[in-house]
Symmetry: C2
Subunit: 611 residues, 2 copies
Amino acid sequence: MYRTHTCGELRPSHINTEVTLCGWVQTVRKFGSITFTDLRDRYGLTQLLFNEQLNTRLDETPIGREYVIQIKGKVLERSNKNAKIPTGEIEVEVIDFTIMNVAATPPFTIEENTDGGDELRMKYRYLDLRRPMLKRNLELRYKVSRSVRNYLDTIGFWDIETPFLIKSTPEGARDFVVPSRMNEGQFYALPQSPQTFKQLLMVSGYDRYYQIVKCFRDEDLRADRQPEFTQIDCEMSFVEQEDILNVFEGLFKHVFEEVKGITITEQFPRITWDDAMWHYGNDKPDLRFEMKIQNLKTSFVHPSIEAPDHNIFCHALNGVDFKVTNEAESILAIVVPNASEYTRKQTDELTEWVKRPQIGMTGLLFVKCNADGTFKSSVDKFFDEDRLKDIANFTGAAAGDLILILAGNETRTRKATSDLRLEIGERLGLRNPDVYKPLWVIDFPLFEYDEEGNRWVARHHPFTSPKPEHIDVMINNDPKIAEAALFYKHPYNNIKANAYDIVLNGTEIGGGSIRIYQRALQEKMFAALGMSKEEAQEKFGFLLGAFEYGAPPHGGIAFGFDRLCALLGGQETIRDFIAFPKNNSGRDVMIDAPSSIDDQQLNELRLKSTV
Amino acid sequence: MYRTHTCGELRPSHINTEVTLCGWVQTVRKFGSITFTDLRDRYGLTQLLFNEQLNTRLDETPIGREYVIQIKGKVLERSNKNAKIPTGEIEVEVIDFTIMNVAATPPFTIEENTDGGDELRMKYRYLDLRRPMLKRNLELRYKVSRSVRNYLDTIGFWDIETPFLIKSTPEGARDFVVPSRMNEGQFYALPQSPQTFKQLLMVSGYDRYYQIVKCFRDEDLRADRQPEFTQIDCEMSFVEQEDILNVFEGLFKHVFEEVKGITITEQFPRITWDDAMWHYGNDKPDLRFEMKIQNLKTSFVHPSIEAPDHNIFCHALNGVDFKVTNEAESILAIVVPNASEYTRKQTDELTEWVKRPQIGMTGLLFVKCNADGTFKSSVDKFFDEDRLKDIANFTGAAAGDLILILAGNETRTRKATSDLRLEIGERLGLRNPDVYKPLWVIDFPLFEYDEEGNRWVARHHPFTSPKPEHIDVMINNDPKIAEAALFYKHPYNNIKANAYDIVLNGTEIGGGSIRIYQRALQEKMFAALGMSKEEAQEKFGFLLGAFEYGAPPHGGIAFGFDRLCALLGGQETIRDFIAFPKNNSGRDVMIDAPSSIDDQQLNELRLKSTV
């Protein structure tokens, strides 16, 4: 052993003992004839004191930042105690030292806040990983995985590995493919998820399966997506939706408790997809603050709310000679508490914000509900005081509040109102990363209509079961749609999936479903998605076959592990929670991959580049 | 929940309670007006009793093997108890049942011993996985991984994920490559091991890393190799060989204790590579039995043994006018205890065995040491009684033993004697799969000479450090060899690696080394392997760069997880310990992968098939 203790270990109880430490030189501070150094390793920092004799040696063989040294020394009580670090009560007076390895000057400072730019830090990732933030992140990641594994073990889940070299079945995202040398002209694909394999494990009777596993998607990378990412992948047999929600809510509570020290006793809220869209404008609502969307007028079909007057819910809109509100498909509002005194500058700024191309609205209407009970709006010309009061009543705005109103096409307006809600929440400091508000979103539509292909696509994936009460609708109707405009009227549009997402602070961190386990229903699903019988057989024959030999009812869920860690770390970018991430072009700039390969390698694979 | 209990759970304490069970119908046995059924799930078997009333329903909707059913029933004490299964004291009288899914007749029986052939079972792997043997194997695999993780956690190792899409560096085995769509004409490679990444993690200061991780090798598959396999991959900083051996010996003892209930208190034997070759003829000796190789004459250079008379150790060979022994480069023997009474038929059979092309010897000599003190040999014509006695003395054979002697070229003869030793051990029942004899093999040669390329190749890998005392020899000598015959005399031939293998029952289950951590030494290594400076920079520049910024001394080990599980399961084939293995052509015959892909996919990757 090169050391007797780590740099995070020594305490007053060690005073007067002789120790050997190894680590990296964090700082070198010379005071006259003595030198202080902080020595760093994974476990912490220890202050070293080089006395006068050793200073001569230090002059001959100087040590610098990031040098790796081994020291033998005696633990002393520190006169100048540092309460900020666990070893702050002691220091080690060096008796002897060895330079184990020298270090060139790092291209950026290796400290909590670095002066290094993104590119540079990615190239020297091995140095960036020395920074406390990244070390904390990877430690958190390990703790989360450990906590997940411990919990799942106690309730009988087995970690079972599924293959990485599988079959390409272009559905949804693009596969990464792997040419096979031994099977000429053929390709494996890397899994986008272990979906079909975990279902086969259920058919095999394995009952409770999980894996923390790499998955791959060859997508054009938006910011903060990675071509390879990690999933916590789970599946259970003989369960209904309720069982899955309970088991994995338990998992989350366990992880929160163990990793964050946060105890959540109450059940996570469960919100239907319809309600989420109705009240928040998206299917991953951030529940850290209320500020629900008020539906003044909308074409959105909410099953439990009947439009009293076509699609106008707020009567104040009726009989007003205002083109904008009359012609808008949807008019949606949010109420900003205590904001009636926003200045013209502030409301102008918000107007500019909604007009940005990412939001795409043409303008923003607002109603100030003054503290004195009067109203002032940007549409005073069309809406008299009574109507404004009606709007305030409808939206639940109180004196002192500000009502922000967006009008236009339903899809765009709802998205914009949702974005505006989040933006206002952000500006008001209501999106504290240390506050955690998990919830389940349930009852998703089973299908989405793809106008371009004039066909249904699976919202979750083709293995998701409809709600039991909708199976007949699915089986007994022809999925064909004569024309795009009629798709809202098609019975398939009302089929709900036996699917659920878990959402944390406005981010979807997991999703799953109860699966189809009957061959006939699975065949109907493939047909509904426009797959011919032959195609279905070629791609998924093994699964259809498996369903003939006694498939149990089953369901599961998968969590985005990278994202979950980032959220638990109170940060936004998953890249900082991955030891060796790729950049936005899918490149690892440290090892310089991907790269060209030898012609011989290509020849062996019977391939030719057309670049 | 579809069930209140599992099929392995009910005990006499449950008698008279009402339960709901789900599972697969294992057997249906009709006795007059009642029917017995065994219901199976992951947890066990429970006997069900369908009484007279329900039998009518069973006649209408019959249930068959592998049907999935749900039953409600009452737990009764069984009159005919079955001590072989944990639920054997009870049975469940069915009150109501539902057929959850029907099953076609399986293509083979789903029982301990099946009538299905290999091909068929691979195609219907999801049915084969229902068999108790495979279930036990996957359960064992999970237990081993769990035990490994638990142990490594307690001693401060962090599971840190390394990337799967890396860079192709053709060294050793062939890489699987992954064409990049976003980086035209370029390829990722799938890792053969996370070697360089785990070393970078040490440079980053992560101190103790592990991962249970998939690795990939595009090799022509010999029996029982898989293109994707799993490694337990570990690395530590500030350690020497001794530390690694102690830590991972601890891991093994923990796993043996926890998974097999076997307590090993003594230290694992440590045998140098030279000794292993000298005494056992291979570098992964099976220590479940002795029967060491006796070196009568050999050109093998064992460092601690000086040949008294050139390379003849057994004087009985001197002055004998026998061409075979005179001309042989090596003469090696093993002593089979209590086998002097082998019949002519038995010795003929052994002779045939060594003449098989896999062994490749031209014959087998033997000396019978009769119980009465006389000797009888197949070479009586050349060796008189005294000489036979000398041979018996030299080999340590006692009265009643049989000495088997092979002669010929050193390499082939040593290999053949090693094989013969194992074969005899097998025949004598000395290779009991329930007996475990782990050991370390240390002090491997650092280099092997590749005659074809007239260059040195790394025996372990290019990142392995020489023994500290051999670093100077490595640095100060030119690796070039004038001609192949001289390589034995080259100083590089005597350099020992700071490397170690762990061997269990004649199988290498893991290996590792202390790594090079100095740029200059690493560059010398690349040069010794025939890599140009430019090539080394292009392939491993990131690692050489990392060594400039304060790399600590470090080392590690990797275990073949599939093989380890097979050994702990007392079986030979790793395929039965992998949920979804590939066949010997690298195909998954269940999902039919690899397969052809769309031209569009190929076009997007800018590739063309030349098949």
